[in-house]
């Protein structure tokens, strides 16, 4: 796979939500810039981790890629075809499937597992009716759900098994890309490990590309080839997982990495932690210049006025005016 042949490409993608007041005569009171100029590419078979605090826009970015939230400007390209405004049931949408955070809310409680897996096959007329049961059994086997459980309903399964079913359902349409939004955040550690192993296996065996959204950096590092760090709707650092998480350059990535507690009592006590003051600023009223400057220990006056571009530095891309001075 070469980077010149991306399977998915985002070009200067923006998703803004107008904030309105009044029922009849709507008055615009502001704009939430949830995604504000994101350009990214995903190679075939690649796992791209997307990390950031809640409210940074990572879920909105995922929803915009999927076409679930309309893009304000910019475009999404799938294998060289612009799919930004593609219809929800079209061929382009089939290639992109999503796994959501909460496996309790993302399955229809009134459909048995077998029915839930058969539904997308019928809707997209992917298989003749006679072949559907065999394909359903194949999908269940792929994610480790026993065939005898296909008649059961979602409430009869544990959280980890439900997430397996949700993954099988995403796989039903033979997608080339899976977008997984915090797929293990709601699960216990030991169950998390099962789902992470399953995702890694599927990427390996089916040649899938994966956009993996999580706030747990150790989980992201374990699974991803590359990592993008988001802050207030923009990407602030993008590079290989090892570079970004083990040798972070952007002041925000450094703070984020240092905030992750490590299960090592001696190391944990000796470590100097960068504790960020305050909460992330509201995307409704973002700071001028670099969005991180109010919480940044290195900010200068120029950071308050200039929006730093994402530029190559130390083998990855960083959006910080002072990165060369502070590293």
């Amino acid at each position: 796979m070469s980077s010149s042949d991306p399977i998915l490409e985002l070009r200067d993608l923006r998703t803004h939500f107008p904030m309105e007041r009044g029922l009849l005569f709507k008055q615009l009171t502001g704009t939430v810039k949830a995604v504000d100029g994101v350009s990214l590419s995903l190679a075939r078979g690649e796992v791209l981790g997307l990390v950031g605090e809640s409210g940074c826009g990572k879920s909105t970015l995922a929803r915009t890629i999927m076409g679930l939230a309309p893009a304000t400007s910019g475009s999404v390209w799938l294998e060289g075809v612009n799919i930004t405004a593609a219809p929800a049931t079209g061929e382009a949408r089939r290639a992109l499937q999503m796994v959501f955070q909460d496996p309790f809310a993302s399955l229809n409680p009134r459909l048995s597992v077998g029915e839930a897996l058969a539904e997308p096959l019928r809707v997209h007329r992917l298989r003749p009716a006679a072949e559907i049961p065999a394909r359903v059994a194949e999908l269940a086997a792929l994610v480790g759900i026993p065939a005898r459980s296909l008649g059961k309903y979602p409430h009869e399964f544990s959280g980890g098994q439900r997430q397996r079913i949700a993954i099988a359902r995403a796989l039903a349409l033979e997608p080339r890309i899976i977008v997984a939004d915090e797929p293990v955040s709601a699960l216990d550690v030991s169950i998390q490990a099962q789902i992470l192993n399953l995702l890694a296996k599927l990427v390996r065996e089916l040649g899938l590309s994966l956009v993996f959204i999580a706030h747990d950096l150790s989980v992201v590092k374990h699974l991803s080839d590359r990592v993008a760090v988001m802050y207030l709707g923009r990407i602030v650092e993008l590079g290989s997982a090892a570079d970004v998480i083990e040798r972070p350059q952007h002041p925000y990535t450094r703070a984020l990495v240092s905030a992750v507690p490590r299960p090592d009592p001696d190391g944990e006590r000796a470590r100097q932690r960068i504790v960020l003051a305050g909460d992330p600023p509201s995307p409704l009223n973002p700071p001028s210049g670099c969005p991180f400057h109010p919480r940044c220990a290195y900010a200068l006056d120029s950071c308050k006025t200039t929006v730093p571009p994402l530029a190559p530095y130390a083998g990855r891309e960083v959006a910080c005016l002072r990165v060369a001075e502070i590293s």
Binding site: L217, R262, P265, D279
Partner: protein
């Protein structure tokens, strides 16, 4: 004397579908100023243990039994309601997991903060408000004077959790029970809250019981750790020996399943099966069904007792006690 001394605590829920043994035979003690971590998966009985000590569970369906649970000499299991009320919120503070649902949406933050002071101390409203303001500032709420009279919905999740912490600490408790206080928060906010708990602990000299499923958080904060599985304690040790030489197969499995401790791309260890159904009696060790080391002896008789294997290290595994399982260091 221990600050808290719990002996053979049992909590059962009597429901229509049977008796659910949420907590079985839990004994532990805690010194003043000590931080005890309580680790385990959902449903392992961590929260129920602490809620039982404060008698916060409705009865029926809950039935709490035990030898005793002495807090500074007072048996919490047998104390009268009046005695308990004098302790809860004053000498023992509690932070609940979910900051979104644990604050009263109809009450201003100021009213909720001074409530424990007005109830437990002879203090004027004005002095109470002054202390509430000081407390809000010390938990790191910017512009506290203006925000004091806000309603909970005007605060973000991290700020609400800080308000919960301020409420639990305002009466300067001797013991703080923190039930997953940072689980719902971002890592950056989590780091702020953990620093805050450590700082206040130094200042007030209080003991902390910290419930968490995150081994990373526990390793940085706690002096001692108890691991729970299926309502029982399976291992208890000082934090260093728990991480360096875990003895019980369940503790080891937990560590092997965390991505942070494993090289990238390696298959993570996964436990086969599910935790046992606590409404049915379990013969022998409750972990045996999922344990790679279990033998026939593990599946019969009484549940193995928690016995010391080294100073300040105890666990409930028959085979590890018999020296039949190599520890990680001996590989």
């Amino acid at each position: 004397m221990h600050l808290l001394d719990v002996s053979e605590l049992h909590t059962r829920f009597h429901t229509r579908s049977g008796v659910f043994r949420a907590v079985t035979n839990v004994s532990f003690s805690l010194e003043r100023g000590e931080t005890l971590g309580l680790v385990g998966e959902s449903g392992s009985g961590k929260s129920v243990t602490c809620a039982s000590l404060l008698r916060l569970l409705p009865s029926p369906p809950a039935r709490i039994e035990g030898n005793y649970a002495r807090f500074d000499g007072v048996d919490l299991l047998r104390a009268s309601d009046a005695e308990l009320r004098a302790i809860r919120g004053k000498r023992i503070g509690m932070i609940f997991q979910d900051p979104m649902t644990s604050l009263n949406p109809y009450m201003r933050i100021s009213e909720q903060l001074i409530e424990p002071l007005l109830i437990h101390e002879k203090i004027s409203r004005r002095d109470a408000l002054a202390r509430a303001l000081a407390m809000l500032e010390s938990v790191g709420i910017n512009d506290a004077a203006r925000r004091l009279h806000s309603y909970p919905h005007e605060f973000s999740g991290g700020m609400r959790q800080r308000v919960m912490i301020a409420m639990a600490l305002i009466a300067r408790p001797e013991l703080l029970i923190a039930d997953e206080p940072t689980t719902a928060l971002d890592v950056t906010v989590q780091a702020q809250i953990l620093e805050l708990i450590k700082k206040l602990q130094r200042e007030l000299g209080m003991a902390v019981i910290f419930i968490s499923h995150d081994l990373g958080v526990v390793s940085g904060l706690c002096d001692r750790v108890m691991v729970m599985y299926a309502g029982r304690i399976v291992e208890t040790a000082d934090v260093r020996s728990l991480f360096k030489s875990p003895q019980h197969p369940y503790t080891r499995a937990l560590q092997r399943s965390i991505p942070a401790l494993q090289a990238k791309g390696t298959e993570l260890y996964t436990l086969p099966g599910l935790p046992p159904d606590l409404s049915k009696p379990i013969a022998g060790c409750s972990f045996a069904e999922r344990c790679e080391f279990a033998t026939a002896a593990c599946r019969t008789g009484e549940s193995p007792a928690v016995l010391a294997s080294a100073p300040a290290h105890a666990h409930a595994c028959l085979r590890a006690h018999a020296g039949e399982i190599l520890t990680a260091n001996e590989h």
